[in-house]
Each structure stands twice: as C-alpha cells, then as structure tokens.
C-alpha cells in the first residue's frame, strides 16, 4: 500500500533533526570533558541555581494555574446559564494563539510601573513569570477540566440533592472522584509548558536570580559565547523533559477539550450564584485585561512612527514567511505521517500507527531550544549559523506544529478512512475523484484549523529565532523583544498590537480560506 511508505521520508527527517543535534551536543560535551573541564560545569553553583529555579517556577506556576482553574471551571460548570459563557470560553481559547511576547507586553501594560495595577520593579522576576504563566495556563486548564464536570452523570447530581449533600460533600463524593483521573495529566502538561517557557522568562525574568535552563542556554550561546555550558544546560533540560514525559505517560490520557453549553442540574442557591459569578468575572478580567491594556497602550502610542518604520514591515515579512512556510511544511509532514498511520490503523496495526504519530510529537520531549542549540553547536564550526537562520527557524517551527496537525487532522482522517474506504472501493472512487468528492470536503476544516494554528504559533515564536536571528533576519517577536529590552515601551506596545492582529488575521484567513464553510452535518 503506498500509504505505508509516505511516512518514511518524514520520519527520516525527524530522526535527523533530533539525533543530529543530540550527537552534536554529546560530541561537544565529550570534547569539553577533556579540554575545558565540563565536569566542573556540572558542579557549578550557577547551573544548580538555574536548575532549581526552573523547577521551582514551573511548580509554582502549575500549582497556581491548576488551583485557580479548578475554581473557575467549577464556577463555569455550575453557571451554564451565564450570559457571556460562550464568549468567555472562546476568550479562554485565545492564549493558545497569542504570542508569548505579546502577553508579556500586556502584563507590562497592566502591572508595569505605568500600568493599571502598578507593581513596579516587583513585576520583574518570579512575580512577573508567575502572572504570565497563569495567564497562559489558567484558561488552558479550565478548558481541559470543564469537560470533566460535564462528564458527571445527571443522576449523580440528582442523587446528591436527594441525599441532602452540601457543597463539601458534592465536591468529595461527586466532583473529586471524577477530577482525580484527569488532574495529574493536566498538571503535568502545564508543568511541562512552564518548564519549557522561553519568551516569558527571557523578558520578565532573565536576571541572575530568575533564569531558567532555556534562557540560560540562550545566554550561554549568544552572550557568554560558552557552548560547553550551553551543552550541559541543554542536556539537563532534555533529561528533565524526558522525565516529565515519562511520568505523564504513566497517567491517564488528557480529557478531550469538548465544551458544551449544558448546565449541571445543581440546585441554585443565591449565595453560590453570587460567588460563582464573581469567580468567572475575576478570571475574565485577569485574562482579558493584559490584551485590552496592551491595545489601549498601542492606540495611545506612536502609531504612525512605528507603522511607517521599515524594520516593522521587514520583520512582518519574515514573520509571515516563517509562519506560512512552517505551516505548509507541517501540514505536508503531518499528512504523510497520518496517511501511513491511518492505513496501519485500518489494518489493525494500532501499535505501529501509534508509534508513528508519537514520533511526530517528539518536540514534546525534546524542546525546540535544545534542538536549536544542538544544530547551533553542530554547524557552527563549518558554516556561519546566522546565514542559515531562516531555514532552521522554519524547520524547527514546523516540527513544533506537527503535534497540533496530528491531533487536529488525525481523528478526521481516521474517521474518513474507517467510514468510507469500503464505500469508495465499491464505487470505484479513487485518486483525484476521491480527494475531490470525499477527502477534501471532510478534511478541509481540520486542515484549515491545523494550518492556522501552526502559522500563528510560528509567527509568534521567540524561541529559535532568538538563537539564530540577526538584524537582517528579524521577525516581529524578535523586534518586539528588542524594543522591550531597550525599554522602548510605547513602541513595543504598538509592535505587540501589530503582531497580535497579524497572528489573528493569518489565523482567520487560513482557517476560513482553507477550512471554508462546513457542509458536513451528522
């Protein structure tokens, strides 16, 4: 079957992109052991401190995000009739496509020295990192946990009411047993995201006391010119990520993000109604305020000056190129992997199918910055790495998008094959006719969503471009970071708003352009 072969070139490229940088890292670490005392680097106070802070900030961010998310998701579940519920839940999906560096700008607009709730210098360091991480992960955790509440059967609530259960008993006997299964998975996902967070820590932390492994790798390569130290840090980061991924695999799967507008049959009491409404409003303010403040700052900022600058449009061009190229590459690679995995799944080789899809999600375990560092040390002795900035940034971003493509497109592709393969065979529908009349109408919606997600994420990424970017190859997030670092906050606000709108515009154009209007009704 031809589908069996389409994954092989993609798997080979993925293997090369992961193994070659690993070999590069290990090679340098081997050399460094004899030449410049890598062993002593392992003992370094600085590296220990960075390691401790990485785990500490990720743990605190996770605890805060999950703790608040439990309150908010519970309030949402109990207030199914809340007037703006649908809109707010959509707002909670926004952090997925908002670039991290834009969020940082928003956080500065709200909590910075001239912000709405000024924290002054206290913003920079752990506080700012926690605020930004909770901004990203509270909505994600709410969207992951809310379906758990909705999975509790109506009869259980009715039984609870009949037995006269109070709030605490409902939590203990109905809600907690359902949540217990999903909580470790959601918690570990949030922990991993915070552990590998780069842009937030770089811009809001970054000082000697609040540096994570990822930021330290970047600083070692770009400022200290110390590849040996970068290698040790990258290997530490890789070990941590593998460990977290291994622990995650021991737990149940994540719940599906499928939010309905149904309301729980919980008897409404006026005090609870007030509390739940308050919690929802506070959460909405927390998530909405940074974006709103940033937009207000942008409108009050030097709009004409920034929008007429060549560097902005130059960077926008590069960002667009990175976004669209990464999305195209990711879709082609994802399609090839899924074509094979669905063929295997339909012939009952589920294990092999699962392994192929897992290989596509390798960036969950090997962070992009580690891959970037490996490529950096691998090619630096032979070529000018900065000449290769764009291809590398595109390639790594395409890899980062692959898990989204697999998760979004995979189920639709599998369902299409399982349902219609025999029917198409019996109707002699194959090749172009099958693509035109069956596959394209069914798959264009998830395809559009995948392309939109990958393009928006790649356009807003400040990971690999920070490592490889030069004044000639600056993307919008890098330009924004440079403005923030130079304390050109008014200009940064305009650039952040421009980047946000660009990402949303590209997202919308790809989602509706490719996805079209679905005619599929089941």
């Amino acid at each position: 079957m031809p589908g069996f072969r389409s994954a092989y070139p993609v798997l080979a490229v993925l293997a090369l992109l992961v193994l070659a940088p690993m070999a590069g890292l290990l090679g340098v670490s081997g050399l460094a052991t004899t030449d410049s005392g890598l062993g002593s680097l392992w003992q370094s106070q600085y590296i220990r401190r960075v390691l401790f802070f990485s785990v500490w900030q990720a743990s605190l961010s996770t605890l805060l995000s999950i703790g608040f998310a439990l309150l908010v998701a519970r309030a949402f579940a109990r207030r199914g009739d809340f007037p703006l519920r649908g809109l707010l839940l959509r707002l909670f999906g926004l952090p997925l496509v908002v670039p991290a560096v834009v969020v940082v700008m928003g956080v500065v607009s709200v909590y910075g020295s001239n912000g709405w709730i000024p924290l002054g210098r206290a913003l920079y360091g752990l506080n700012g990192i926690l605020i930004a991480h909770v901004f990203f992960n509270l909505p994600l955790a709410v969207r992951l946990l809310l379906p758990v509440w909705q999975s509790i059967p109506d009869h259980h609530w009715q039984l609870g009411d009949q037995l006269g259960m109070g709030q605490w008993q409902q939590w203990k006997y109905l809600e907690w047993p359902a949540l217990r299964e999903s909580l470790p998975g959601v918690g570990l996902l949030v922990f991993m995201l915070c552990l590998t967070s780069f842009a937030v820590v770089l811009t809001l932390g970054g000082g000697p006391r609040s540096t994570t492994l990822e930021v330290a790798i970047y600083q070692s390569l770009r400022f200290d010119f110390n590849p040996s130290q970068a290698v040790v840090l990258a290997l530490l980061q890789l070990t941590l990520c593998v460990l977290v991924a291994w622990i995650s695999s021991r737990f149940h799967r994540l719940p599906n993000v499928e939010i309905t507008v149904s309301t729980l049959p919980v008897r409404k009491r006026s005090s609870n109604l007030f509390i739940n409404t308050g919690i929802i409003m506070l959460a909405a303010l927390f998530v909405g305020m940074p974006l709103l403040a940033m937009l207000v700052d942008a409108l009050n900022g030097p709009l004409r000056q920034v929008l007429s600058s060549i560097e902005l449009w130059h960077s926008a061009g590069f960002s667009l190129m990175v976004g669209l190229s990464a999305a195209s590459l990711s879709i082609v690679a994802g399609w090839a992997l899924l074509h094979t995995s669905t063929d295997l799944a339909t012939s009952s080789q589920n294990k092999r199918a699962g392994l192929i899809e897992l290989a596509g999600s390798i960036v969950y375990v090997v962070p992009p910055l580690v891959i970037g560092t490996g490529l950096f040390v691998l090619i630096a002795p032979w070529l000018n790495v900065f000449d290769w900035a764009l291809p590398i940034v595109i390639l790594v971003n395409a890899m980062m998008g692959l898990p989204f493509v697999i998760r979004t497109l995979g189920p639709a592709m599998r369902q299409s094959k399982m349902r219609y393969n025999h029917l198409c065979d019996s109707l002699a529908l194959s090749g172009w006719n099958r693509f035109k009349f069956v596959d394209w109408p069914i798959l264009r919606k998830p395809l559009g969503l995948s392309a939109a997600l990958v393009a928006a994420l790649a356009m807003g990424d400040l990971g690999v471009i920070a490592l490889f970017g030069t004044p000639d190859t600056t993307t919008l997030p890098l330009l924004l970071y440079q403005q923030l670092s130079a304390y050109r906050i008014p200009q940064a606000a305009v650039t952040a708003a421009f980047l946000l709108l660009s990402c949303l515009l590209v997202f919308w154009m790809l989602e509706t352009g490719i996805g079209g209007k679905s005619r599929v009704k089941h």
């Binding site: 009952s348 025999h422 029917l423 019996s426 109707l427 009349f437």
Partner: protein, 239 residues
C-alpha cells in the same frame, strides 16, 4: 446464479475475531433474497466483505453467472453493497450521492441525469434530490443507498444489516420494497440480519452461519421452527 465454493479466509494476526478461520459454501439464484443469520462474530459480514472484494480469500471460488470474480478489484465486481450506516457522504446532496454510483467523476449525460431522477422517483425520493443526508430520516437515508445500488445495475446486492436502526413498521416497509425490486430486476440479494423476523419476512431460504461456516441452508420457516441443530436453537433461545 451466485455460487461460492470452498471460499477460505483467515484474519491477519493481531486482528482479534471470534472466528479466525472461515470456509464458506453457498448458492443463490436470481430474484432471490437470501438471508444470512447467526451469532455475532460468526462471519456473516466477513462473507459479504469477501464477495464485495474488501477481504482477499486465501482460496476458493466466487462465481456470478458463471464468471469467477474473486480476483477482481471491488469496483470491477458486479456487486453493490449497502451498509448499516455511513452509506452516504454527509457533505453531498442526495442526487450527488446517487450520481457517484453512476460515474465517480460525476460527468453525467442527460440520459444518466434522467435515470437518476427516475430512480429517486421510483423510491419515493423525488422531492429530496437537493436535500442533505442530515435532513432525511433513517429510512429515507437507506432508500437513497438502495437507489444508488439499483442505478448501478449490478447483479448482486449485498445488504449488511441495513435496516437495523429502523423501527418495526419501517423495517417491514423496506423489506417489502427490497423484495419487489429484487424480483423485478432479477437481482440476487444477500441480507445479513440479527432479526429472525426479518429473514422470515424477506426470504424463502435462509442460511445459518456459525464459526465461519454455513452450517444450514433451509427454507426460512423450517430453519426457524424445526432445525435440529443445537447452534441454531441456542441462537434462537430455544435450548
């Protein structure tokens, strides 16, 4: 005439089925609706899959009007199949779903257009050509699938529990419709069903399949009331 001789099949390793090794012998004549009944996992749907070409037999012969078809591709066989569900593409309207059975590239001439409309009319679907599948009832959707099967003018019609989701009155109506079409067009229909009452209504003869073999082929009433076989009586809940 449909003739199946020593048709052997084995599921590949890893695909867990109750019956791993199967061997079928069966005959049916034009104008006949032959029902296939038996326990779940006994091989009824697998037999239809072998005739349709979805599975490759390890040995044996399938003949239709004297022509061996077991090595042909699914689309080359004089066979059309109606499944229990997912017979229609949800994003295409009724007319297009039927038209795909005439020409997969949908390049139709005026005569083909008229033929499709006529078939839809014959099945009481004349007003639904522009409707989407989601707008139809379960019975109407199965009528569309049968319309497509008819317009393909293939000699063998395979029906894999097509009426399972319908209520008793609609089932009866659909079975009567099926019988009339099969007799009128001198087709051979194999109807897989879990309901002995469907077999009684649809077929003069019924085959009982157990553990990958046709263990009894008798007049339906006789099979359901007088069979001495323990497997049949177990299935009917008589033991």
């Amino acid at each position: 005439m449909l003739s199946i001789e020593r048709l052997a099949f084995c599921y590949p390793r890893g695909k867990k089925k109750q019956t791993d090794s199967m061997l079928f012998d069966l005959q049916a004549k034009p104008g006949e609706v032959l029902s296939l009944i038996g326990p779940s996992g006994s091989g009824k749907s697998t037999l239809l899959g072998l005739i349709a070409g979805f599975h490759q037999p390890t040995s044996g012969i399938i003949q239709v009007a004297g022509r061996e078809i077991q090595s042909l591709e699914p689309a080359e066989r004089p066979v059309t199949i109606v499944f229990q569900e997912h017979n229609l593409f949800p994003h295409l309207d009724v007319f297009t779903n039927v038209a795909l059975g005439v020409n997969p590239s949908l390049k139709l001439d005026a005569q083909q257009h008229a033929g499709i409309n006529q078939t839809l009319d014959d099945l009481g679907l004349g007003d639904f050509g522009k409707s989407m599948p989601a707008e139809l009832s379960g019975g109407q959707r199965q009528r569309v699938a049968i319309a497509r099967a008819l317009i393909r003018k293939h000699q063998i019609l395979l029906l894999d529990e097509p009426f399972a989701a319908l209520g008793p009155a609609l089932r009866q109506e659909m079975i009567e419709l099926l019988k009339a079409i099969v007799i009128e067009q001198q087709m051979i229909a194999l109807l897989v069903s879990h309901q002995p009452s469907d077999a009684l209504l649809a077929s003069e003869n019924t085959a009982f399949i157990s553990k990958g073999r046709v263990i009894s082929l008798l007049p339906t009433e006789q099979l359901l009331t007088e069979s001495p076989l323990a497997e049949v009586n177990d299935y009917l809940g008589k033991s």
